[in-house]
Each structure stands twice: as C-alpha cells, then as structure tokens.
Assembly symmetry: C3
Homo-oligomer: 153 residues x 3
C-alpha cells in the first residue's frame, strides 16, 4: 500500500514513532462512518517527556516541541488503524489542552506548533478547526494533550 504522507513525514526529517499504549482502559482510536476519533495523546517520546505547567515549569518552546511529538504519535495511531495515512482525507478538528498557569494566555502559540505541522504534512487537507485552552493539570503531568477527529476514505 502506498503511503505518500508517511514519505512526506520522512522528507521533513521526522520519524513516526510506534503508537504509544493508551494510559488507561481505552483505545487509541475508534472509527465511526468516515470519522476516526483519536484519543488524547501526550508529549512523550522514547527520548523525552514534556511535563509540567506552562510557562513556569516548561517553556513555551518546549511545550511546542511537545505538541509536535503528539501530532506524530497521533498519526502513528492513525497509520496503525488505517494501514496508510493516504486514507486521511481531512483533519476535521483538533482539541489542544495545555497545562497552564492561571495567568498564561498563549495556548494558541503552543498549539500552533501542532497545527502548523499538520499543514506541513497534509497541505490543505491538514487545515482544521480547533479549540485550545489552559487546564488545571493533565495526565502524568503532561504539558500538552491533543485529541483529533480525522475524516477518512
């Protein structure tokens, strides 16, 4: 099966990780009709865990790198489910949650790192609707959590 999107990711110098195990008794994704609902992902890789409240414990820049980690591990989930990322016809929406001090308001700047990467990878099909906000705390002290709804062929 061809996977031009996976090739595109490689051409950007990025690597799809293995899809991480869910951190609880749920699935990484569920398909219903033409929608693939992908569970909230965390900014953890084999090399680093982006943890702590933004911006005091984690910088905006580190949280942005974390947001990109989440995009890649969410796409790894999609590839595992679909076989090929070419079956994704549209990124419909992403929900971006930032572990946030009550006086931090730049959640869009953090989540833009995810949004920009999706557009780099998918082009126009990567342009999505979005909510972004700051929450009190995230699972495993993650700095960022992002869930997605994808439209699939």
């Amino acid at each position: 099966m061809t996977d031009k999107i996976a090739q595109k990711i490689e051409s950007l110098g990025l690597t799809l990780p293995d899809a991480p195990a869910p951190v609880g008794s749920y699935l990484n994704c569920v398909r219903t009709g033409n929608q693939l609902h992908i569970s909230g992902g965390l900014p953890f890789t084999a090399e680093e865990k982006i943890q702590g409240v933004v911006p005091t414990e984690t910088s905006v820049e580190d949280a942005q790198r974390g947001a990109r980690h989440v995009v890649l591990n969410r796409l790894a989930v999609a590839k595992g489910e679909l076989g090929s990322l070419d079956k994704i016809t549209r990124v419909v929406s992403i929900s971006g949650f930032v572990s946030s001090k009550p006086d931090f308001y730049d959640h869009p700047v953090v989540i833009n790192a995810a949004s920009d990467l999706l557009v780099e990878i998918f082009g126009d099909a990567g342009k999505h609707s979005r909510v972004a906000m700051g929450v009190a705390a995230l699972p495993m002290n993650a700095s960022v959590e992002i869930s997605m709804i994808l439209e699939v062929a």
Copy 2:
C-alpha cells in the same frame, strides 16, 4: 422491545436511574445521523453527590464511584432517547473531566472506572477513544463530568 444491555446492567447488580434533568437550558442528548451526542453528566444520584476537588476534598476512590454514576445516568439518557440500549452499536468516545488540584495527575485512574464499566456492559462495542484531564472547577462543584458520543443503529 428487547433490551439485552439493560438486562446486562441488572445482572451486574446495577440499576439505571431516571435520566436526570439537564442543569441548564440544553438537552441531555442530540442525535445526528448515526451519532448520539450525550451532554456532560454529573456524578449525582438520589443517594449521594460526589463533589469537590480530587484528591484533597474527594478521594480517587470516591471520584471513581462518581464516574460510574455518570456512566449509568448517561446510559439512562440514551435509553430514554433510543427506547433500547441494544440500538447502541459502539461507544465512539468519552471525554472525562476531573475537578483537579494542579498537582494531581491520575485523571486516567478516575476515568478508567467509567471506561471499565462501559466495557463490562457492552463488551467490545464499549471500547472507546477518550480524553481525560483535570479542570479548574465543574458545575455544581461536581468531582467528575463525562460526555459521550455513541454510534447508534
């Protein structure tokens, strides 16, 4: 109309409550196509209200019991809408919000209680995608709020 799922709930020693009234000017659920969008439910029963921030005002164990209360009152909503829970073909996603101290990170442990119960009740059809997080405060000082998207026949 048969309702094997309702019988399964009884066989687990559980009781579907009456669907609670919404706590505002909205509906408990709306169907669109094959999706039933169920509003956020609170962990309140005729016997108890699970309120307060986790883990200082409410223990993880109490919040877990609250998460199970929400599953049952959300399924009561679905039964009221659909007539029979057998019409649910899949639990697509749940969103679990925990009233959380900023240094509490075990939201997945709380929401697992809801996820596990859904799988006990529905089997494979109950396996779902999920987001879980800690928020600053919930309506009526609830400890847990959970919304759901169900796929229906």
Copy 3:
C-alpha cells in the same frame, strides 16, 4: 439566497459581526459530511473584550454577555461557510469553557446565555447537547470560549 435565520437575528435587535480571524494557524470551521465543526470562539467584539477570570475579574453577567458575543461570531463563521444560516438543520452540541476560579461552580449559568440565544434564534433546531466547565485559563485571557458542532443540509 434566502436567510430567514439572519432575518430572525436582526429582528431580535442583534447584528452578525464579521467573522473574526482565527487566533492561530487553524480554520474557523471545517465541514465533514453533514457536520460543520466550528472552532472555539472568543467573546471579543469591535466594542469590547470580555476578559478575566469569573467571577472575580469578570462578573457572571459580563461573562453571559460574552457568551452571546461568541454565539454571534460563531454564526458569522457559519454564514461565511454556508452562504445562508437556513442550511443549518440542527445545533448538535456546544462546548462551553469558562475561565474560572476554583471555587466558582455556576458555569451552566454563564453558558445558558449562549444556549438560550441559540434557541431564540433557531427554535427547536437550536436545542443542543452541551458540556460546560471551568478551566484554568483561556486564550488571550478570554472569559469564555465556545465551540460548536452543527448539522447542515
């Protein structure tokens, strides 16, 4: 193209603003099948920005006015996408996030202002499912953020 809903909005003495630019690298909305997913909107108009934590920095009444601002700017987004608001067959769900002190629990009272306005405008088709909660902080220090899923013809 007729737009009875836009006329209804005018008859209520309200004005659809220009759709605001997204505050990041995303789109105001994405359509998939019969669903229009509308990004989280903020309570900012040409005249005022409703900012700050509820209820200490912003009153419940001001936050309610903000919630109504968001409804109007979200409907402006929908009109830009659809041409006519008459193509909206149902408001499926809204997610209402309030910048909230940890001991504030009346998020439903704030978000009711949005829910009530949707029903004033759309009648029965405006009745929706909902989640409402208090979060640590919102983009640009907004007091309220609301996203929506609409069913469209």
